[in-house]
Symmetry: C2
Subunit: 107 residues, 2 copies
Amino acid sequence: MAEISQSGNVVTLINVFTVRPEDQQPLLDLLVEATESVMNRRPGFVSANLHKSFDGTRVVNYAQWRSKEAFEAMLEDPAAVGHMRQAAGLAESFEPHLYEVAYVDEA
Amino acid sequence: MAEISQSGNVVTLINVFTVRPEDQQPLLDLLVEATESVMNRRPGFVSANLHKSFDGTRVVNYAQWRSKEAFEAMLEDPAAVGHMRQAAGLAESFEPHLYEVAYVDEA
């Protein structure tokens, strides 16, 4: 199970895809396939966590990597690039940014 | 520590704030204060996890609530509304959506 913590020693990719509702499930299926066939074999991969919005208009990948360098090296992998192009084709837009966890509070 | 899982029995709010870099830390400070003074006392609050992008342009709140109903009841709380207005004033835009976890993969 992925854990969110300030001391997690990871960098976090949050990639928000905006989709037409009919493309939400196809994009999810594609991202699952990309994760299983390419991403989770890359050095530095920690976790991928795919989310679908109840309103049908968004898919979010909340992914953890061991370092910025590991994430950036993945971006040069031709297999990864191929999957990302396919994902871009199913989305109206996508916004990937790299984050650090700044604060955590729990009930 | 917040955990991401498909069986977590939570709904997930992912709220992406777009900010000017000089407003990133002030917005984070405001969201910490809102979490500690209002959100984490609300029924159904599970966790709030604030993230800041390395590029300075985004703040993301990845928050877990016990149910949609608990989240929606919070939106009617005048103290919460006051904090959300202040946050909106510091952001160029914000995009809150409610999600379910669709898939999890770990190294």
